[in-house]
């Protein structure tokens, strides 16, 4: 069955290869810029990953005219503004973002401010509000989770309203995404697991989304397949470059899928838990994915059941509800195994969420932009019941 309408747009050039970032000559030759602002964070710098990329840029004859290295784990509006101001001050023509989703999203929105000016909240929150072209952006992920290197979305924290603001526009898609699994090999087991579960959540929520299309289905299914085959290997042995590569590619595939099909209430709950109690996004998604899928089951069991084959879930018959439940059980089993490896918490109570905070998370979930794309109407009291189970 085909949807009445779908659109797929993928302007980002994606290149993959272990060690690719040590020589970026061929890749950067096609980006119309020479003077770059490097955007990154303290961990990437400490691990020497930024230096590796800077060396690769030098081989391409590119000049890094400034470095913005203060991006926090959940970037904020003020951080984006400071980044854009530095880019303007040092005459940068383009951005190279080296890091996880927060770093790449910061560069995306700084590129908006540098090219178009204005105020992030007043002028660009919403849908269809950012008209390009922006300054070129090269995205080099050092985690395998957000897929931000290929998405049209940026998420930035607004400290005033304690919410994560989602900005969405095709103009936010980077010009170039460089996938180098060497850069992710130093990720510790916990981050490896939580970022992979973030990517898995992107893929599964895209799969059951009312906005799904045959193209996003294909991307999501391959992403799920790769994650299931690679995540435990990468958690056990960080230097397993094949597994690292699989997760990195899966993260991008899932990013392309959800950037078009969007995500639903699992992300809504995770955004709320992150905004209110600082729960890391990947961890929140890992904990909440089975509960969100159960919430949506009345509307999605037929589509979800089709994942049973991809997930090699233990199901005995063609009936869709048991098959869909087997998919959820398979996801629970995966998070359980990752928990046993010491890589994931399983309960909201273990990540700083107080019991009396659950109603606030439920209320914020309803107000999250993802509620619009959820297959089932997002109702606070029903979401609260799932949060209580996840507590």
């Amino acid at each position: 069955m085909l949807p009445d309408f779908f659109e797929f747009r993928m302007p980002t050039r994606v290149v993959y290869g272990p060690g690719l970032t040590s020589d970026l000559q061929a890749e950067l030759a096609q980006v119309p810029a020479v003077r770059y602002l490097a955007v990154s964070d303290a961990t990437v710098v400490r691990l020497g990953l930024l230096d590796r990329v800077m060396g690769g840029m030098a081989t391409a004859g590119c000049e890094v005219v400034g470095r913005f290295l203060d991006v926090p784990p959940n970037s904020e509006l003020g951080v984006v503004e400071a980044c854009a101001a530095l880019a303007a001050a040092c005459g940068a023509e383009a951005f190279v973002a080296v890091g996880g989703g927060s770093v790449i999203d910061t560069a995306k929105m700084a590129a908006v401010l540098l090219a178009l000016g204005g105020d992030l909240v007043d002028d660009y929150s919403g849908s269809g509000t950012i008209d390009g072209p922006l300054r070129p952006l090269v995205a080099i992920p050092t985690t395998a989770g957000t897929g931000s290197e290929v998405t049209s979305v940026a998420v930035i924290y607004d400290a005033d309203s304690h919410t994560k603001l989602a900005f969405s526009s095709p103009s936010l898609m980077p010009d170039l995404a460089v996938l180098d699994p060497d850069l992710t090999s130093s990720l510790p087991p916990g981050l490896t697991a939580s970022t992979a579960m973030d990517a898995l959540t992107h893929a599964v929520e895209a799969w059951v989304s009312p906005q799904a299309s045959p193209i996003t289905d294909a991307l999501a299914a391959k992403a799920i397949d790769l994650i299931l085959g690679c995540v435990e290997r990468a958690v056990r042995a960080g230097d397993d470059l094949e597994a690292r590569g699989g997760l990195l590619v899966a993260s991008s595939l899932a990013g392309m899928a959800f950037s078009h099909a969007m995500v639903g209430c699992v992300h809504g709950m995770a955004h709320a838990a992150g905004g209110l109690y600082g729960v890391p996004h990947g961890v929140a998604n890992a904990i909440l994915l089975p509960y969100g899928l159960e919430y949506n089951l009345p509307e999605t069991h037929v589509k979800l059941a089709a994942l049973a084959l991809v997930m090699q879930a233990d199901t005995t018959g063609p009936a869709t509800l048991p098959a869909a439940e087997a998919v959820i059980a398979a996801i629970r089993a995966l998070t359980g195994r990752l928990h046993d490896l010491g890589a994931l918490p399983l309960r909201l109570r273990d990540v700083g969420v107080p019991a009396d905070g659950l109603p606030d998370i439920a209320a914020a979930t309803v107000m999250d932009g993802t509620s619009f794309y959820n297959p089932r109407e997002v109702v606070a009291e029903d979401i609260l019941a799932q949060l209580e189970r996840a507590f």
């Binding site: 009445d4 309408f5 659109e7 002028d123 660009y124 929150s125 919403g126 849908s127 269809g128 509000t129 009312p210 906005q211 309803v366 107000m367 999250d368 932009g369 509620s371 619009f372 794309y373």
Partner: protein
């Protein structure tokens, strides 16, 4: 040349409809609870209407280009017209950029269930107020 004869006619037609919506308590109540100030900017013909839900009752202000709105919705007049017949999929319209929404979009989306009864009221309103030619079958 668009569907409508003039800016004046479209402005009068839609402002009247918004005022009618404000007179129905079951529709006005959730709108007023939202406290939103929404500016609709239409093209072909060019019309601006502010629907102010921040007070005790719905205030519909055609031509208000100065009030700072919480949400700015932009679309062609014809898309707006079809929307009130329930014939526009908002998700698709936003994706295809037939509509743009600046501001806290989720707050607008929350209002969709509340305004759903208006889809049936709109053709009645057109019929009873001399706009029967614009009824879409």
């Amino acid at each position: 040349m668009g569907l409508f004869k003039s800016s004046e006619e479209f402005e009068e037609m839609l402002s009247g409809f918004f005022r009618l919506a404000g007179s129905r308590p079951e529709i006005a109540r959730p709108l007023l609870d939202s406290r939103l100030i929404i500016r609709f900017t239409y093209s072909d013909p060019d019309v601006v209407i502010v629907v102010d839900c921040s007070g005790d009752s719905l205030d519909v202000r055609p031509g208000d280009t100065t009030t700072k709105a919480t949400v700015n919705m932009t679309m062609k007049a014809e898309i707006a017209h079809r929307f009130w017949f329930g014939k526009v999929n908002l998700m698709q319209a936003l994706t295809r950029r037939q509509m743009t929404a600046k501001g806290p979009v989720p707050k607008i989306l929350q209002l969709l269930p509340a305004i759903k009864p208006l889809y049936a009221i709109y053709p009645e309103y057109l019929r009873e107020n001399g706009y029967a030619d614009y009824i879409v079958s």
